[in-house]
Each structure stands twice: as C-alpha cells, then as structure tokens.
C-alpha cells in the first residue's frame, strides 16, 4: 500500500495541524496567550482612558517589547522539546521533507500568534464604535505586527533547534529578539553613539540591524519595499538556516 510521500506544503499542513493542537495539550500556550492578550489590551486601555487617544498607535508602539517575551516562550519548544523527548527521531524518519517539518512548525506558531492578534479585535471594534479610525492604517499596523511576529518566531525556531533545553532556547531567543527590538530605541541609540563617539555605532545598528525602523514605517502606513524585504527576507533566511540545522542534527 506504501503511499507516495507528501509534497512540501501538504507535509507542512500535516505538521502544522499537529503542532497547533499540541500547543493546547500542555495548557502553556493558552495561559501565555491569555496573559499576553490581557497585557496588550491593558496597554491600550491605559492610553485610551488616561490620554484620551482614539487610535491604536500606543498599542502598536509597545507591542514589540511584549513580543520579546511572549514569542520566545512560544518558539522555545519547537525543536528543543522534540529533542528532549526523543520524538525528534520519530519526526525526521517520517517521509516528509525537512522543509515541511520546519515550515509546518513555523506556521503553527504563527497561527497561535495570529490568534493573539485576533484577540485584540475588541480594540478595533471599540474604536470603530467610538469614532472613525483610519482602517488602512489599522490594517498596515496589523501587517507590521504579523511580519515582526513572524520574524521573531522564525528566529526562535532556529535558536530552538540549537539546544535540547527549552530554557536555553528561550533565553537565546529573548536575547536576539531584544537586540532586534531595543536597537530601535532612540535612547539606546544615543547611548551607543555616545560610547563610541565618532563611529556612530548606535545609529549604524539602528539603520542596518534593527527591526523597529521597518516596523514603524509599516505601522505608519508606509508599506515600503525595503521594509517588506527586511521582514520576509530575514524570516526566510531563518527558516532556511533552521532546515539546514535540522538536517545536520540527523546526520
């Protein structure tokens, strides 16, 4: 009866559906998503009631910092857990391309993050009821949030494949995510520029390395090609590196 091996996308779909269901087996995903949602909504409500701002600017500007903690907690288990429980051997001996495994796990993590973003819909509804928000700007903000989340999850997947210890995977992912996000903070840029006067290290890191300038462009409604290329390119590169690393773990 031996069936034909599945193609890249069909294989990824099988893996993604298993992974997505597995998030909720442990309950950790449910708890962390609810906690992140409460935090994200309270950030918005705080600005909304205290400063009287009827837009999602404060939400989107603070979201990256929240993601630095929330997304590594999600991505840490992607590969580290498989290696710790030895199910890695089961997974990589299935007739699926390594790319399907990596893509499937990434899509499952992205879907969970997507659920978190859907959970912020009450904010949008509230804004629409109370005023007439710029829907294009809102859509652009959500696209930015999705792309930034996708990048951090892809990096988290890569770092999770480096270790069989979830804590190590979490710390590594949180550090790299923090570097990408905090390097966009103007105060940090000023400090780094001051430390290495003349070299403008902070500015260089901000312009070349940081995700925040690209994220802010998108949040501001400017869907520039460099910003899209930054997120899509780095996400694809991280997934390709993860595929290479997982293949090497086998051999």
């Amino acid at each position: 009866m031996t069936a034909q091996p599945l193609g890249l996308l069909a294989g990824a779909r099988v893996i993604a559906s298993r992974e997505f269901a597995a998030w909720f087996d442990s309950g950790v995903a449910t708890a962390s998503t609810i906690a992140a949602l409460l935090l994200a909504n309270s950030i918005f409500m705080n600005e909304f009631f205290l400063a009287g701002r009827i837009d999602m600017g404060p939400f989107f500007s603070r979201l990256p910092v929240l993601l630095v903690l929330f997304l590594p907690a999600q991505s840490m288990r992607l590969w580290a857990e498989e290696r710790r429980t030895r199910t890695f051997e089961v997974l990589v001996t299935l007739p699926l391309a390594t790319g399907s495994l990596v893509l499937g796990k990434f899509l499952a993590a992205l879907a969970l993050y997507g659920l978190f973003l859907v959970g912020t819909a009450p904010i949008v509804v509230m804004l629409c009821v109370l005023g007439a928000p710029d829907l294009g700007l809102l859509a652009s903000g959500y696209l930015a949030a999705l792309l930034l989340g996708g990048l951090l999850l892809a990096l988290g997947s890569l770092l999770s494949a480096l270790s069989s210890d979830q804590v190590v995977a979490f710390v590594l992912a949180a550090l790299v995510s923090a570097a990408l996000v905090l390097s966009g903070d103007e105060r940090l840029v000023a400090v780094l520029d001051g430390l290495f006067s003349g070299a403008n290290v902070g500015t260089w890191i901000h312009d070349v390395f940081s995700a925040i300038p690209h994220y802010e462009e998108l949040v501001g409604g400017i869907a520039s090609a460099p910003a899209l290329a930054y997120f899509v390119g780095l996400t694809a590169l991280s997934l390709w590196l993860t595929t290479t690393l997982v293949r090497r773990l086998r051999t």
Partner: protein, 257 residues
C-alpha cells in the same frame, strides 16, 4: 538466499563512525520478502546504530542501504515510505490521544482519508488498542505504549519493518502474542527485529544476524545454529552467546628476569 529474488532490505558494506569510535563496521546482509530476521548482540554492539541507519535517522559514512529498492541517502523519502520503524526508546507524543497520534502518523505518511480509516481500523485491532484509543499516550501502560509504537510503524502497511527491542515492556503473554503477530505479518514483507533476549529471537525467526563491536559475527539460519549446538552439546542460547563472546586473548608470556 535465493539470487532471483530482489531483497527488500539490502545492507552493503555499511560503516558508521562517531568521531574516532567505529559503531558499525562494513556490515552487509540482506532480507528477502517473507523473512523474519533476529538481530542480536550485546548492549553497545551497534544494533541500534544500524537500525537508525536503516531508518534514515543516521547517514552511513560508507556503504549503502536500500529499502524496497530505494537508497536511503539518494531517495530518503521513498525509503522512509517503505519502512515501518519502531525506535529504541519508542518515543511518542505523550500529550496526544492515541487515535489522534495514529491519525497523524498515517496522514504524515500520505494515506488518503479512506485508506487511513481502513488502516486505522486494522492496526487498532491487530495491536489490540481498542481500550486506549481515546486515552492520552501518557496515560497508557508500558505495554500499551509499545503497541502504539508498533501500530504507528505498521499504519502504512510497509514492505520493510525494522523494530528495535519491540518486546521491551511486554509481559510473557503479550510476548507470545507478539511472536504470532510478527509471523502473521511476514508474508511479502521483510522484518528485522533486534533483541538481546536470545531465546525470543530463536523462537520467532528463521534466521539470526549477530553483531559484536560493530562487526557482523554471524548470519545463519536458526536451524543451522540449532544443529551445531546439538552436536556440541550446547543449548541454542549457549551457542549464540558463544558467537557473541570475544575470543579469549592469550595470556602474556611471563618474561624471565
């Protein structure tokens, strides 16, 4: 071995090294359809390494392995599709329900909906899993876990079956049932199963392959082994153990002072 029949599992001159340690060295043997071969050797002999090579989890440094005509390095997906593999530690997704787990393995192996339903019904019945299909894997006993692993290995009706210590965790009654079950699977398939329980291997298989320190030390029918043992006044177990024991090293000569 019949030269006209193409082997379903063909291992040729396979070597695997871990750094400076040679885990498997130039091992060659083949399994034809209908054969059940016991793979024996002491702990650390290289049994699991060789089975991991067969499963494509590891890649050989030298030599080649073909599963139903598919090279494990050149066509890994087709080779994996031809194999039902139960790994040494039988790792399972503990949080999943048994039925969901088997469905997942079947879908990942490319079974269409109708085929999957049919194979699920067969494997659940054949591995006697009816009582636990709705339980989570972590709630199942060791014996059930072993049977879940076996069911996952058989869900796609593979022509080649490689089982690493499949009777680990089974009670004597379950072991006897397992032996009958394995024999019933044999027609048209090649089955390689490792064990360090010599009696179990001899009861189940027609042929034994023995490995020691990574090298093949025996590959012969159980009947030949049995005949030799009788002639030498030894039991089958003793004869097999004798094959696996290293030849005694001659004591160093005492030098005159």
């Amino acid at each position: 071995m019949n030269d006209s029949v193409r082997p379903l599992l063909d291992i040729r001159g396979v070597t695997k090294r871990y750094g400076a340690t040679v885990a498997v060295e130039r091992v060659s043997f083949a399994l034809e359809p209908g054969e059940i071969v016991g793979f024996v050797g002491p702990n650390g002999a290289g049994k699991s390494t060789l089975l991991k090579l067969v499963s494509t989890f590891l890649v050989p440094d030298e030599g080649s392995i073909e599963l139903a005509g598919h090279d494990v390095v050149k066509e890994p997906l087709a080779a994996r599709a031809s194999l039902g593999y139960l790994a040494e530690h039988n790792a399972l997704y503990d949080g999943m329900r048994v039925l969901r787990y088997l469905e997942f393995v079947g879908r990942a192996r490319g079974l269409a909906r109708a085929q999957l339903a049919e194979r699920l019904a067969w494997t659940i019945g054949a591995c006697a899993l009816e009582a636990v299909t709705k339980k989570r894997v972590q709630e199942c006993s060791k014996g059930y876990r072993q049977r879940i692993g076996l069911a996952a290995a058989l869900i796609h009706d593979p022509p080649v079956i490689a089982l690493d210590e499949p009777t680990h965790g089974l009670d004597p009654l379950q072991m006897a049932a397992f032996r009958d079950f394995l024999r019933s699977l044999a027609p048209g398939r090649a089955i390689l199963f490792s064990s360090h329980i010599v009696g179990e291997v001899c009861d189940t298989c027609e042929r034994v392959v023995a490995i020691h320190k990574g090298k093949l030390v025996a590959d012969e029918p159980v009947s030949a082994l049995s005949k030799r043992a009788t002639a030498a006044g030894r039991t089958l177990d003793q004869e097999l153990v004798r094959l696996l024991e290293p030849a005694p090293t001659p004591a160093p000569k005492e030098t005159a002072r």
